[in-house]
Symmetry: C2
Subunit: 340 residues, 2 copies
């Protein structure tokens, strides 16, 4: 199998998806379109175009590879690629409101610039637009793709509901946390890996395997993201240092740490119950050290690797075209190789 | 044509739609399901079942009549009936957040009980569930119905975006206001009147005529609702007395009044620019009198009648089954006959 550098794969796919994504966004009313352009990094808040922007486009890339893995041209996956990116951004817009986050990727969030109603409505519009793009694609498999997308969106919302409920609970189990992550991150990555194949009319077994691949990838990705949320460099993550501990997030490594035996876990548990308003920088570093001391950091790193292996394993016995198969595996490695 | 008492038609349709609506809501995760049950009036905030509740179910009734008007059994329209009710409630949940309304139909709103994130997520879930119900209906016309629903949802959001923008603008034209109403109210009533027919595979001309009927009905309904928002009895409307003036809403009658010549319009314009915090009861009654003095109250009443006539006229030359046709017209009259 040819190992392709994933930034190139990403770049190639982004070049195909961008015009279609812009065409979809152009279907919105002018006010919502402008806000979406800002949110997607295409424009500044005053409407000035930006050179950079558009994010990594991981989900659209997966959707295009998905069509190729089913033996079709990647263009068959384009409506799916646009749709998963829209669903992802619908969830980001609403998440930022719910988490009161003022910044995302070093830029002000939509609600912090234009208010909560604007962010709610823009998110609502993108959720609908995602369905519209798939349903209006003209594909004979449009309804099946819409169902795939819609099921993932429902799971994503369910994951977010669980995440919100965790904030108010003193303790959660690791299983509950994995289940929340499966909804919040796994479902849309599963749909991204499956929707291109769905649009080609691929057999259910292939679609199911691709979905499972994306779900394992999602868990691996979330574990790495959780590690970055504690030990990541703010310049890379775009979040303040130790942000997830400051927010008392019950991420996978933290949940694992809190469930551990020993004094480090007990001290972390007591600290998690304190008011974040009183946090000092040394407190946060101490909390991070406690997570590591329980073995949860090493566990998260190892589990991310295992999930990546499982993602690869579910595709092992399928007769997949070698080039997109190699691209997919390389993309997974690249996604989970982000430095702490 | 047999004139059927519309409360009976509504009751008959509600009896058919309720079990399906409950089955759809049961597909949600338990937390979201419980919040939705409360919002729909099926339970109290603590989960205790309520005898009454469920609203007028106007939109589902229209969807069932729509299938009958296309010559099919009304059960063909059921997935559409459930879906339009879910979209309606998605929009209510988000609207209450955006308008900071603490009460709806004499009951606390979801966000005021359980917070903004809960109301956002429950709304998101219902938007998705509406699509799911249609896409999973097994109808050979599911994709067309999903498109119909999705287009109406997009317009509804566009109307809400416009309404929000109006709040920050000193003046809007009557055309802009009609356009906003077409999105916010007309689109979903249009889809409600059309989606049952779409699910039967009815010809495009019939679908278009039914959609147009619903849109005219929507404008008539909004005009009556706007009149009730100023002169309605709080016991009937479920809103505080003179609520829309207190909120400085730029409703159709107010927009018409502000655009009029003369001293009443000028005085109303000056008052609309004042801070609502300083309002007294006599101020609000004076403002209501000013709207009437410009002729805008009589205009709104006459225009509602005209729109109802237009709604009837678009169906006049079609060979519709007489009974659902009579029910539809009667329902329109009933909807717009609500007392001030």
């Amino acid at each position: 199998m040819t190992a392709v550098l994933s930034p190139e794969t990403l770049g190639r796919c982004r070049a195909q998806v961008q015009p279609q994504l812009r065409a979809a966004v152009d279907r919105l009313d002018p006010a919502t379109r402008d806000v979406t352009s800002y949110h997607l990094g295409w424009t500044e808040a005053d409407g000035t175009p930006r050179a950079a922007g558009g994010g990594k486009a991981v989900r659209p890339t997966l959707a295009l590879l998905s069509a190729e893995l089913a033996g079709a041209d990647c263009s068959v996956g384009l409506p799916g690629a646009v749709a998963v990116e829209l669903v992802h951004n619908f969830s980001l817009l609403h998440d930022d409101v719910m988490d009161h986050d003022h910044e995302r990727r070093h830029r002000r969030t939509v609600w912090s610039l234009w208010g909560v109603p604007c962010a709610i409505l823009t998110g609502d519009a993108l959720q609908g637009l995602a369905q519209e793009v798939v349903l209006d694609s003209g594909s004979p498999h449009a309804a099946a793709a819409a169902r795939c997308l819609n099921a993932a969106t429902a799971e994503l919302i369910r994951g977010q509901v669980a995440d919100l409920a965790f904030e108010r609970r003193a303790s959660i189990t690791l299983d509950e946390c994995f289940d929340m992550v499966a909804g919040k991150t796994g479902s849309l990555l599963g749909a991204s890996c499956a929707i291109g194949a769905v649009l080609t009319g691929a057999p259910p077994e292939l679609v199911a395997a691709l979905d499972a691949h994306g779900r394992h990838l999602g868990t691996a990705f979330q574990l790495v993201d959780d590690l970055l949320g504690i030990w990541g460099d703010p310049a890379t993550t775009g979040k303040p240092v130790l942000a997830d501990l400051r927010a008392r997030k019950k991420s996978l490594p933290v949940t694992r740490a809190l469930a551990a035996d020993g004094s480090a876990a007990a001290e972390l548990g007591r600290w998690y119950a304190t008011d974040p308003a009183g946090d000092t920088e040394p407190d946060l570093h101490r909390a991070a050290d406690l997570v590591a001391a329980t073995g949860a950091r090493a566990w998260a790193e190892a589990t991310a690797e295992e999930e990546l292996d499982r993602a690869a394993a579910v595709l092992e016995d399928l007769p997949l075209p070698p080039e997109p198969h190699a691209d997919l595996l390389e993309l997974g490695r690249w996604l989970t190789r982000r430095e702490c």
